[in-house]
Protein backbone atom coordinates (compact mmCIF):
# COMPACT_ATOMS: atom_id res chain seq x y z
CA UNK A 1 0.00 0.00 0.00
CA UNK A 2 0.97 3.62 -0.44
CA UNK A 3 1.61 5.34 2.83
CA UNK A 4 2.74 8.80 3.94
CA UNK A 5 6.27 9.25 5.16
CA UNK A 6 7.56 12.20 7.15
CA UNK A 7 11.09 13.47 6.36
CA UNK A 8 13.03 15.95 8.44
CA UNK A 9 16.14 17.91 7.44
CA UNK A 10 18.78 17.57 10.14
CA UNK A 11 22.13 19.19 10.51
CA UNK A 12 24.85 16.84 11.67
CA UNK A 13 24.98 18.34 15.10
CA UNK A 14 24.87 16.74 18.46
CA UNK A 15 21.42 16.62 19.95
CA UNK A 16 19.41 17.36 16.82
CA UNK A 17 17.86 13.91 16.56
CA UNK A 18 17.07 13.99 20.24
CA UNK A 19 15.16 17.21 19.72
CA UNK A 20 13.04 15.60 17.05
CA UNK A 21 12.27 12.50 19.07
CA UNK A 22 11.53 14.72 22.06
CA UNK A 23 9.02 16.81 20.12
CA UNK A 24 7.30 13.68 18.84
CA UNK A 25 7.19 12.20 22.30
CA UNK A 26 5.69 15.34 23.80
CA UNK A 27 2.99 15.23 21.17
CA UNK A 28 2.19 11.61 21.83
CA UNK A 29 3.32 10.46 18.41
CA UNK A 30 4.48 6.91 17.85
CA UNK A 31 7.23 6.10 15.36
CA UNK A 32 6.73 2.76 13.66
CA UNK A 33 9.69 2.85 11.25
CA UNK A 34 12.68 5.11 10.83
CA UNK A 35 15.84 5.56 8.78
CA UNK A 36 18.50 8.21 8.49
CA UNK A 37 20.41 9.13 5.35
CA UNK A 38 23.47 11.17 6.04
CA UNK A 39 26.23 13.19 4.46
CA UNK A 40 29.03 14.97 6.23
CA UNK A 41 27.03 18.07 7.05
CA UNK A 42 23.41 17.01 7.09
CA UNK A 43 21.07 14.10 7.22
CA UNK A 44 17.55 13.26 6.23
CA UNK A 45 15.47 11.57 8.87
CA UNK A 46 12.63 9.51 7.37
CA UNK A 47 9.85 8.17 9.52
CA UNK A 48 6.50 6.48 9.48
CA UNK A 49 4.51 7.97 12.34
CA UNK A 50 1.12 7.49 13.93
CA UNK A 51 -0.22 11.03 13.21
CA UNK A 52 1.68 12.60 10.34
CA UNK A 53 -0.19 15.93 10.29
CA UNK A 54 0.23 16.51 13.97
CA UNK A 55 3.89 15.45 13.81
CA UNK A 56 4.74 17.72 10.89
CA UNK A 57 2.95 20.68 12.46
CA UNK A 58 4.78 20.18 15.74
CA UNK A 59 8.17 19.97 14.03
CA UNK A 60 7.51 22.97 11.78
CA UNK A 61 6.53 24.91 14.84
CA UNK A 62 10.06 24.31 16.14
CA UNK A 63 11.54 25.52 12.83
CA UNK A 64 12.37 22.12 11.38
CA UNK A 65 12.09 21.70 7.63
CA UNK A 66 9.81 18.78 6.97
CA UNK A 67 8.33 17.07 3.96
CA UNK A 68 5.54 14.55 3.52
CA UNK A 69 5.97 12.11 0.66
CA UNK A 70 4.37 8.93 -0.68
CA UNK A 71 6.21 5.67 -0.17
CA UNK A 72 5.08 2.08 -0.58
CA UNK A 73 4.97 -0.41 2.21
CA UNK A 74 5.04 -4.11 1.46
CA UNK A 75 4.70 -7.06 3.74
CA UNK A 76 6.44 -10.28 2.86
CA UNK A 77 7.27 -13.60 4.50
CA UNK A 78 10.62 -13.44 6.25
CA UNK A 79 12.39 -16.01 4.09
CA UNK A 80 15.42 -15.91 1.78
CA UNK A 81 14.75 -14.68 -1.77
CA UNK A 82 11.61 -12.65 -1.06
CA UNK A 83 13.29 -9.24 -1.30
CA UNK A 84 15.22 -10.33 -4.34
CA UNK A 85 11.96 -11.27 -6.07
CA UNK A 86 10.46 -7.81 -5.55
CA UNK A 87 13.58 -5.95 -6.53
CA UNK A 88 13.85 -8.01 -9.68
CA UNK A 89 10.29 -7.15 -10.72
CA UNK A 90 10.77 -3.45 -10.14
CA UNK A 91 14.15 -3.40 -11.79
CA UNK A 92 12.94 -5.15 -14.92
CA UNK A 93 9.96 -2.81 -15.18
CA UNK A 94 12.32 0.15 -15.08
CA UNK A 95 11.00 1.51 -11.80
CA UNK A 96 13.62 3.47 -9.96
CA UNK A 97 14.16 2.76 -6.29
CA UNK A 98 15.52 5.80 -4.44
CA UNK A 99 15.86 4.25 -1.04
CA UNK A 100 14.32 1.64 1.20
CA UNK A 101 14.33 0.50 4.77
CA UNK A 102 12.55 -2.18 6.71
CA UNK A 103 12.46 -4.66 9.51
CA UNK A 104 11.33 -8.20 10.15
CA UNK A 105 9.65 -9.71 13.13
CA UNK A 106 7.87 -12.98 13.89
CA UNK A 107 8.27 -14.38 10.40
CA UNK A 108 7.04 -11.25 8.61
CA UNK A 109 9.16 -8.54 6.97
CA UNK A 110 7.90 -5.05 6.25
CA UNK A 111 9.68 -2.95 3.65
CA UNK A 112 9.27 0.73 2.95
CA UNK A 113 10.37 1.81 -0.50
CA UNK A 114 10.57 5.15 -2.26
CA UNK A 115 10.00 4.39 -5.92
CA UNK A 116 9.58 6.54 -8.98
CA UNK A 117 6.00 5.31 -9.59
CA UNK A 118 4.30 3.97 -6.42
CA UNK A 119 0.98 2.96 -8.05
CA UNK A 120 2.62 1.05 -10.87
CA UNK A 121 5.04 -0.61 -8.49
CA UNK A 122 2.22 -1.93 -6.33
CA UNK A 123 0.38 -3.19 -9.36
CA UNK A 124 3.46 -5.06 -10.61
CA UNK A 125 4.05 -6.53 -7.22
CA UNK A 126 0.38 -7.62 -7.19
CA UNK A 127 -0.11 -5.94 -3.89
CA UNK A 128 -2.95 -3.76 -4.98
Amino acid sequence: MVIKQLSVFLQNEQGRLEEVTGILYKNGINISALSIAETEEYGILRMIVSDIDKASAALRNEDFSVKISDVICIETPDIPGELHKYIQILSRAGINLSYMYGYSDAGTARLIMKVSDPEKALELLKLK
Partner: protein, 432 residues
Protein backbone atom coordinates in the same frame (compact mmCIF):
# COMPACT_ATOMS: atom_id res chain seq x y z
CA UNK B 1 30.88 81.03 8.47
CA UNK B 2 34.38 79.64 8.12
CA UNK B 3 35.88 79.31 11.60
CA UNK B 4 39.57 79.35 10.80
CA UNK B 5 40.09 80.84 7.35
CA UNK B 6 43.86 80.80 7.52
CA UNK B 7 43.84 77.03 7.98
CA UNK B 8 40.75 76.11 6.01
CA UNK B 9 41.36 78.27 2.96
CA UNK B 10 45.12 78.28 2.49
CA UNK B 11 46.66 77.44 -0.87
CA UNK B 12 47.56 73.84 -1.61
CA UNK B 13 51.26 74.79 -1.67
CA UNK B 14 51.07 76.36 1.75
CA UNK B 15 49.20 73.31 3.04
CA UNK B 16 51.86 71.04 1.59
CA UNK B 17 54.59 72.97 3.39
CA UNK B 18 52.68 73.11 6.66
CA UNK B 19 51.88 69.40 6.58
CA UNK B 20 55.47 68.51 5.69
CA UNK B 21 56.85 70.57 8.53
CA UNK B 22 54.40 69.14 11.03
CA UNK B 23 54.99 65.60 9.77
CA UNK B 24 58.74 65.93 10.24
CA UNK B 25 58.23 67.03 13.85
CA UNK B 26 55.73 64.32 14.52
CA UNK B 27 57.94 61.54 13.11
CA UNK B 28 60.84 62.82 15.20
CA UNK B 29 58.63 62.68 18.30
CA UNK B 30 57.19 59.21 17.78
CA UNK B 31 60.59 57.79 16.86
CA UNK B 32 62.08 58.92 20.12
CA UNK B 33 59.06 58.46 22.38
CA UNK B 34 57.13 55.43 21.14
CA UNK B 35 59.01 52.17 21.15
CA UNK B 36 56.44 50.52 18.89
CA UNK B 37 57.08 53.04 16.10
CA UNK B 38 60.82 53.16 16.63
CA UNK B 39 61.02 49.39 16.16
CA UNK B 40 58.76 49.48 13.15
CA UNK B 41 60.82 52.23 11.53
CA UNK B 42 64.07 50.51 12.35
CA UNK B 43 62.77 47.30 10.79
CA UNK B 44 62.16 49.30 7.62
CA UNK B 45 65.59 50.89 7.83
CA UNK B 46 64.01 54.32 8.37
CA UNK B 47 65.32 57.22 10.40
CA UNK B 48 63.37 60.36 11.19
CA UNK B 49 65.60 62.32 8.81
CA UNK B 50 64.32 60.22 5.90
CA UNK B 51 60.92 61.87 6.19
CA UNK B 52 61.12 65.34 4.69
CA UNK B 53 57.80 66.05 2.99
CA UNK B 54 54.34 64.50 2.96
CA UNK B 55 55.38 62.64 -0.20
CA UNK B 56 57.56 60.58 2.15
CA UNK B 57 54.47 59.39 4.04
CA UNK B 58 54.46 56.24 1.87
CA UNK B 59 57.75 55.18 3.45
CA UNK B 60 56.20 55.05 6.91
CA UNK B 61 54.67 51.94 8.47
CA UNK B 62 50.91 51.54 8.83
CA UNK B 63 49.08 51.35 12.13
CA UNK B 64 46.06 49.10 12.57
CA UNK B 65 43.38 48.61 15.16
CA UNK B 66 45.19 45.40 16.11
CA UNK B 67 48.32 47.41 16.91
CA UNK B 68 46.23 49.47 19.32
CA UNK B 69 44.91 46.31 20.95
CA UNK B 70 48.38 44.78 21.14
CA UNK B 71 49.60 47.86 22.95
CA UNK B 72 46.59 48.11 25.26
CA UNK B 73 46.23 50.19 27.27
CA UNK B 74 49.05 52.75 27.24
CA UNK B 75 51.73 51.36 24.92
CA UNK B 76 51.39 53.92 22.13
CA UNK B 77 51.54 57.06 24.27
CA UNK B 78 54.19 59.56 23.21
CA UNK B 79 54.07 61.69 26.35
CA UNK B 80 54.52 60.96 30.07
CA UNK B 81 51.24 60.07 31.81
CA UNK B 82 51.35 63.34 33.70
CA UNK B 83 50.70 65.16 30.41
CA UNK B 84 47.48 63.28 29.78
CA UNK B 85 44.29 65.09 30.71
CA UNK B 86 41.64 62.77 29.29
CA UNK B 87 40.99 59.24 28.07
CA UNK B 88 38.40 57.95 25.68
CA UNK B 89 37.85 54.37 24.62
CA UNK B 90 36.04 52.49 21.93
CA UNK B 91 33.14 50.26 22.83
CA UNK B 92 35.32 47.17 22.32
CA UNK B 93 32.65 44.94 20.83
CA UNK B 94 35.33 42.41 19.92
CA UNK B 95 37.58 41.97 22.92
CA UNK B 96 39.39 44.71 24.79
CA UNK B 97 38.44 48.32 24.15
CA UNK B 98 40.95 50.52 22.36
CA UNK B 99 42.11 53.38 24.50
CA UNK B 100 43.00 56.85 23.27
CA UNK B 101 44.53 59.67 25.29
CA UNK B 102 44.62 63.45 24.97
CA UNK B 103 47.04 66.04 26.25
CA UNK B 104 45.84 69.56 27.02
CA UNK B 105 46.85 70.58 23.50
CA UNK B 106 45.06 67.57 22.00
CA UNK B 107 41.84 68.58 23.75
CA UNK B 108 42.23 72.05 22.24
CA UNK B 109 42.77 70.55 18.78
CA UNK B 110 39.70 68.37 19.27
CA UNK B 111 37.60 71.41 20.21
CA UNK B 112 39.06 73.38 17.29
CA UNK B 113 38.19 70.79 14.65
CA UNK B 114 34.70 70.24 16.07
CA UNK B 115 34.13 74.01 16.00
CA UNK B 116 35.15 74.05 12.35
CA UNK B 117 32.80 71.14 11.68
CA UNK B 118 29.90 72.93 13.36
CA UNK B 119 30.62 76.10 11.36
CA UNK B 120 30.73 73.93 8.24
CA UNK B 121 27.20 72.83 9.17
CA UNK B 122 26.07 76.43 9.47
CA UNK B 123 25.95 76.49 13.26
CA UNK B 124 26.66 79.87 14.93
CA UNK B 125 27.07 81.24 18.43
CA UNK B 126 23.38 82.10 18.43
CA UNK B 127 22.37 78.45 18.24
CA UNK B 128 21.23 76.14 21.00
CA UNK B 129 22.97 72.82 20.40
CA UNK B 130 21.33 69.72 21.83
CA UNK B 131 24.09 67.14 22.10
CA UNK B 132 22.39 63.74 22.05
CA UNK B 133 25.59 61.81 21.46
CA UNK B 134 26.50 59.70 24.48
CA UNK B 135 28.74 61.40 27.05
CA UNK B 136 31.42 59.18 28.49
CA UNK B 137 34.16 57.01 27.06
CA UNK B 138 32.66 57.59 23.61
CA UNK B 139 34.22 60.67 21.98
CA UNK B 140 30.94 61.97 20.55
CA UNK B 141 29.31 63.67 23.53
CA UNK B 142 32.27 65.49 25.05
CA UNK B 143 33.79 66.18 21.64
CA UNK B 144 30.76 68.03 20.34
CA UNK B 145 30.26 69.65 23.72
CA UNK B 146 33.67 71.31 23.74
CA UNK B 147 33.40 72.33 20.11
CA UNK B 148 29.99 73.91 20.52
CA UNK B 149 31.14 75.79 23.63
CA UNK B 150 34.24 77.02 21.85
CA UNK B 151 32.03 78.34 19.09
CA UNK B 152 30.01 80.19 21.73
CA UNK B 153 26.77 78.32 21.13
CA UNK B 154 24.63 77.23 24.08
CA UNK B 155 25.03 73.53 24.78
CA UNK B 156 22.26 71.27 26.03
CA UNK B 157 24.31 68.28 27.25
CA UNK B 158 21.43 65.85 27.36
CA UNK B 159 23.51 62.85 26.14
CA UNK B 160 21.89 59.91 24.34
CA UNK B 161 18.54 58.26 24.93
CA UNK B 162 15.56 59.43 27.00
CA UNK B 163 13.53 60.31 23.94
CA UNK B 164 10.62 61.91 25.77
CA UNK B 165 12.97 64.37 27.47
CA UNK B 166 14.79 65.05 24.20
CA UNK B 167 11.48 66.11 22.67
CA UNK B 168 10.49 68.20 25.70
CA UNK B 169 13.77 70.11 25.56
CA UNK B 170 13.53 70.55 21.79
CA UNK B 171 10.18 72.22 22.51
CA UNK B 172 10.91 74.10 25.75
CA UNK B 173 14.49 75.19 25.17
CA UNK B 174 13.93 75.61 21.46
CA UNK B 175 17.13 73.83 20.50
CA UNK B 176 18.09 74.82 16.98
CA UNK B 177 20.77 72.20 16.38
CA UNK B 178 20.59 68.48 17.08
CA UNK B 179 23.72 66.33 17.29
CA UNK B 180 23.36 62.55 17.38
CA UNK B 181 23.69 59.39 15.33
CA UNK B 182 21.60 59.29 12.15
CA UNK B 183 19.69 56.24 13.39
CA UNK B 184 18.72 58.07 16.57
CA UNK B 185 17.69 61.13 14.53
CA UNK B 186 15.40 58.92 12.46
CA UNK B 187 13.95 57.47 15.64
CA UNK B 188 13.42 60.94 17.12
CA UNK B 189 11.63 62.02 13.95
CA UNK B 190 9.25 59.07 14.29
CA UNK B 191 8.68 59.75 17.97
CA UNK B 192 7.95 63.40 17.29
CA UNK B 193 5.39 62.40 14.66
CA UNK B 194 3.83 59.84 17.03
CA UNK B 195 3.57 62.49 19.74
CA UNK B 196 1.49 64.56 17.32
CA UNK B 197 4.04 67.37 17.23
CA UNK B 198 4.45 69.30 14.01
CA UNK B 199 8.20 69.46 13.34
CA UNK B 200 7.63 72.78 11.54
CA UNK B 201 6.66 74.27 14.90
CA UNK B 202 10.04 73.34 16.42
CA UNK B 203 12.87 75.88 16.14
CA UNK B 204 15.19 73.00 15.18
CA UNK B 205 16.92 73.81 11.88
CA UNK B 206 20.18 71.88 11.62
CA UNK B 207 21.23 68.30 12.34
CA UNK B 208 24.85 67.22 12.68
CA UNK B 209 24.90 63.44 12.46
CA UNK B 210 27.67 60.89 12.50
CA UNK B 211 29.37 57.97 14.23
CA UNK B 212 27.83 55.42 11.90
CA UNK B 213 27.54 55.06 8.13
CA UNK B 214 24.27 56.30 6.64
CA UNK B 215 22.87 56.50 3.17
CA UNK B 216 21.57 59.45 1.18
CA UNK B 217 18.10 57.91 1.47
CA UNK B 218 18.39 57.99 5.24
CA UNK B 219 19.57 61.61 5.13
CA UNK B 220 16.55 62.60 3.04
CA UNK B 221 14.23 60.76 5.40
CA UNK B 222 15.63 62.57 8.45
CA UNK B 223 15.54 65.95 6.74
CA UNK B 224 11.89 65.45 5.79
CA UNK B 225 10.93 64.03 9.19
CA UNK B 226 12.51 66.77 11.29
CA UNK B 227 12.26 69.59 8.73
CA UNK B 228 15.94 70.37 9.04
CA UNK B 229 19.11 70.36 7.00
CA UNK B 230 21.35 67.43 7.84
CA UNK B 231 25.15 67.43 7.81
CA UNK B 232 27.55 64.53 8.00
CA UNK B 233 30.27 64.68 10.66
CA UNK B 234 33.04 62.08 10.40
CA UNK B 235 35.68 60.98 12.80
CA UNK B 236 37.12 58.14 14.79
CA UNK B 237 38.50 58.11 18.28
CA UNK B 238 41.89 56.79 17.13
CA UNK B 239 42.43 59.97 15.13
CA UNK B 240 40.68 62.33 17.59
CA UNK B 241 36.93 61.70 17.47
CA UNK B 242 34.20 63.42 15.45
CA UNK B 243 35.37 66.50 13.61
CA UNK B 244 38.04 64.88 11.46
CA UNK B 245 35.85 66.00 8.57
CA UNK B 246 32.43 67.52 7.93
CA UNK B 247 30.05 68.45 5.09
CA UNK B 248 29.81 72.07 4.08
CA UNK B 249 26.76 73.68 2.51
CA UNK B 250 27.79 72.37 -0.91
CA UNK B 251 27.17 68.85 0.43
CA UNK B 252 29.73 67.46 -1.97
CA UNK B 253 32.11 65.58 0.28
CA UNK B 254 33.45 66.27 3.75
CA UNK B 255 36.28 68.78 4.33
CA UNK B 256 39.11 67.22 6.30
CA UNK B 257 40.95 69.24 8.94
CA UNK B 258 44.12 68.33 7.09
CA UNK B 259 46.37 70.72 8.94
CA UNK B 260 45.97 68.17 11.75
CA UNK B 261 45.14 64.90 9.99
CA UNK B 262 46.75 64.02 6.68
CA UNK B 263 44.58 61.66 4.63
CA UNK B 264 45.64 59.07 2.09
CA UNK B 265 43.68 56.54 0.10
CA UNK B 266 45.30 53.15 -0.28
CA UNK B 267 44.52 49.92 -2.01
CA UNK B 268 43.62 47.66 0.95
CA UNK B 269 45.38 44.69 -0.69
CA UNK B 270 48.55 46.08 -2.22
CA UNK B 271 48.68 48.91 0.35
CA UNK B 272 49.81 51.25 -2.43
CA UNK B 273 48.67 54.85 -2.31
CA UNK B 274 45.90 55.59 -4.81
CA UNK B 275 45.30 58.73 -6.87
CA UNK B 276 42.73 61.39 -5.99
CA UNK B 277 39.25 60.34 -7.06
CA UNK B 278 39.98 56.64 -6.77
CA UNK B 279 38.09 54.75 -4.09
CA UNK B 280 40.08 52.84 -1.54
CA UNK B 281 40.76 52.63 2.17
CA UNK B 282 41.07 55.87 4.06
CA UNK B 283 44.27 56.26 6.06
CA UNK B 284 45.13 59.11 8.43
CA UNK B 285 48.36 60.36 9.90
CA UNK B 286 47.98 62.74 12.81
CA UNK B 287 50.58 65.49 12.56
CA UNK B 288 49.83 67.65 15.58
CA UNK B 289 48.56 65.32 18.28
CA UNK B 290 50.80 64.92 21.32
CA UNK B 291 49.54 62.12 23.53
CA UNK B 292 48.84 59.43 20.97
CA UNK B 293 50.00 60.37 17.51
CA UNK B 294 49.38 57.71 14.90
CA UNK B 295 51.26 57.04 11.68
CA UNK B 296 49.15 56.00 8.71
CA UNK B 297 46.24 54.64 10.69
CA UNK B 298 44.11 52.32 8.58
CA UNK B 299 40.48 53.30 9.18
CA UNK B 300 39.03 50.44 7.04
CA UNK B 301 36.51 53.00 5.78
CA UNK B 302 36.20 53.22 2.01
CA UNK B 303 36.27 56.70 0.49
CA UNK B 304 38.06 58.83 -2.10
CA UNK B 305 39.70 62.27 -2.00
CA UNK B 306 38.95 65.41 -3.98
CA UNK B 307 41.56 68.20 -3.88
CA UNK B 308 39.67 70.62 -6.13
CA UNK B 309 38.61 73.92 -4.54
CA UNK B 310 35.11 73.88 -3.08
CA UNK B 311 32.51 76.54 -3.82
CA UNK B 312 32.22 77.24 -0.10
CA UNK B 313 35.70 78.78 -0.20
CA UNK B 314 37.48 76.08 1.76
CA UNK B 315 40.52 74.54 0.15
CA UNK B 316 40.80 71.62 2.56
CA UNK B 317 40.59 68.32 0.74
CA UNK B 318 37.19 66.65 0.67
CA UNK B 319 36.56 62.97 1.32
CA UNK B 320 33.59 61.19 -0.23
CA UNK B 321 30.86 60.02 2.11
CA UNK B 322 31.83 56.64 3.54
CA UNK B 323 29.99 53.90 1.72
CA UNK B 324 31.53 50.76 3.15
CA UNK B 325 34.37 49.20 4.98
CA UNK B 326 37.32 47.40 3.49
CA UNK B 327 37.24 44.75 6.18
CA UNK B 328 34.02 43.42 4.66
CA UNK B 329 36.28 42.24 1.85
CA UNK B 330 37.88 38.83 2.10
CA UNK B 331 40.95 37.76 0.21
CA UNK B 332 40.72 34.05 -0.45
CA UNK B 333 43.48 32.41 -2.42
CA UNK B 334 44.37 35.84 -3.73
CA UNK B 335 40.84 36.57 -4.95
CA UNK B 336 38.79 39.44 -3.54
CA UNK B 337 35.44 38.31 -2.22
CA UNK B 338 32.73 40.58 -0.87
CA UNK B 339 29.91 38.97 1.13
CA UNK B 340 27.49 41.11 -0.89
CA UNK B 341 28.44 39.13 -4.03
CA UNK B 342 27.35 35.93 -2.35
CA UNK B 343 24.16 37.59 -1.20
CA UNK B 344 23.23 38.69 -4.70
CA UNK B 345 23.76 35.18 -6.06
CA UNK B 346 21.62 33.64 -3.33
CA UNK B 347 18.83 36.10 -3.99
CA UNK B 348 18.66 34.69 -7.54
CA UNK B 349 18.32 31.08 -6.40
CA UNK B 350 14.78 30.25 -5.23
CA UNK B 351 15.86 27.14 -3.29
CA UNK B 352 18.17 29.17 -1.07
CA UNK B 353 17.22 31.86 1.38
CA UNK B 354 19.27 35.06 1.66
CA UNK B 355 20.48 34.01 5.10
CA UNK B 356 24.03 32.84 4.89
CA UNK B 357 27.34 32.73 6.68
CA UNK B 358 30.79 32.71 5.13
CA UNK B 359 33.37 30.65 6.96
CA UNK B 360 36.93 31.11 5.83
CA UNK B 361 39.52 28.64 6.99
CA UNK B 362 42.92 27.41 6.03
CA UNK B 363 43.55 23.71 5.51
CA UNK B 364 47.31 23.25 5.19
CA UNK B 365 48.31 26.07 2.88
CA UNK B 366 44.94 26.24 1.16
CA UNK B 367 42.26 28.78 2.01
CA UNK B 368 38.78 27.35 2.05
CA UNK B 369 35.50 29.20 1.82
CA UNK B 370 32.47 27.48 3.21
CA UNK B 371 29.12 29.09 2.63
CA UNK B 372 26.35 27.98 4.91
CA UNK B 373 23.01 28.47 3.25
CA UNK B 374 19.62 27.98 4.72
CA UNK B 375 17.47 25.85 2.51
CA UNK B 376 13.90 26.88 1.80
CA UNK B 377 11.49 24.27 3.15
CA UNK B 378 9.60 24.27 -0.12
CA UNK B 379 12.64 22.66 -1.71
CA UNK B 380 13.57 20.25 1.03
CA UNK B 381 13.43 16.70 -0.27
CA UNK B 382 13.45 13.26 1.32
CA UNK B 383 15.87 12.20 -1.42
CA UNK B 384 19.53 12.92 -0.95
CA UNK B 385 20.11 13.31 -4.68
CA UNK B 386 17.65 16.22 -4.80
CA UNK B 387 19.39 18.01 -1.98
CA UNK B 388 22.74 17.42 -3.64
CA UNK B 389 21.35 18.90 -6.85
CA UNK B 390 20.32 22.05 -5.02
CA UNK B 391 23.69 22.25 -3.37
CA UNK B 392 25.50 21.83 -6.68
CA UNK B 393 23.31 24.45 -8.31
CA UNK B 394 24.19 26.97 -5.61
CA UNK B 395 27.84 25.94 -5.79
CA UNK B 396 28.01 26.40 -9.57
CA UNK B 397 26.40 29.83 -9.48
CA UNK B 398 28.48 31.11 -6.58
CA UNK B 399 31.69 29.81 -8.11
CA UNK B 400 30.98 31.40 -11.47
CA UNK B 401 30.53 34.78 -9.77
CA UNK B 402 33.38 34.58 -7.26
CA UNK B 403 35.86 32.76 -9.46
CA UNK B 404 37.02 30.42 -6.70
CA UNK B 405 35.79 27.04 -5.55
CA UNK B 406 33.56 27.02 -2.49
CA UNK B 407 32.01 24.50 -0.14
CA UNK B 408 28.26 24.86 0.14
CA UNK B 409 26.70 23.57 3.33
CA UNK B 410 22.96 23.40 3.53
CA UNK B 411 21.80 24.25 7.01
CA UNK B 412 18.50 24.15 8.83
CA UNK B 413 15.98 26.92 8.68
CA UNK B 414 16.65 29.74 11.19
CA UNK B 415 20.03 28.38 12.28
CA UNK B 416 21.80 31.45 10.95
CA UNK B 417 21.49 34.21 13.48
CA UNK B 418 19.17 37.02 12.53
CA UNK B 419 20.36 40.51 13.35
CA UNK B 420 18.46 43.69 13.99
CA UNK B 421 21.49 45.79 13.27
CA UNK B 422 24.62 44.96 11.41
CA UNK B 423 24.54 41.31 10.48
CA UNK B 424 27.57 39.18 11.12
CA UNK B 425 28.18 37.39 7.82
CA UNK B 426 31.75 36.24 8.01
CA UNK B 427 33.78 34.02 10.31
CA UNK B 428 37.46 34.01 9.41
CA UNK B 429 39.24 31.15 11.13
CA UNK B 430 42.52 31.55 9.30
CA UNK B 431 45.51 31.97 11.52
CA UNK B 432 47.92 34.01 9.52
Amino acid sequence: MIWNESMECMSRDQMHDLQSRRLRNMVERVYHNVEFYRKKMQALGLEPGDIKTIEDLVKLPFTTKQDLRDNYPFGLFAVPKSEIVRFHASSGTTGKPTVVAYSRKDINIFAEVVTRALCCSGVTRNDIVQVAFGYGLFTGGLGLHYGAEKLGAAVVPISGGNTAKQITLLQDFGSTVLVCTPSYAAYLAESIAEAGIDPQELPLRVGVFGAEPWSYEMKKKIEDGLKIKAYDIYGLSEIIGPGVSNNCDCQDGLHIAEDHFVPEIIDPITLNQLDPGVTGELVFTTITKEAMPLLRYRTRDLSSLDYSPCECGRTNVRMAKIFGRSDDMLIIRGVNVFPSQVESVLLEIPEAKPHYMLIVDRKGTMDTLEIQVEIDEKFFSDEMSQLNNIRNKIKDKVESVLGISVIISLVEHKTIKRSEGKAQRVIDRRKI
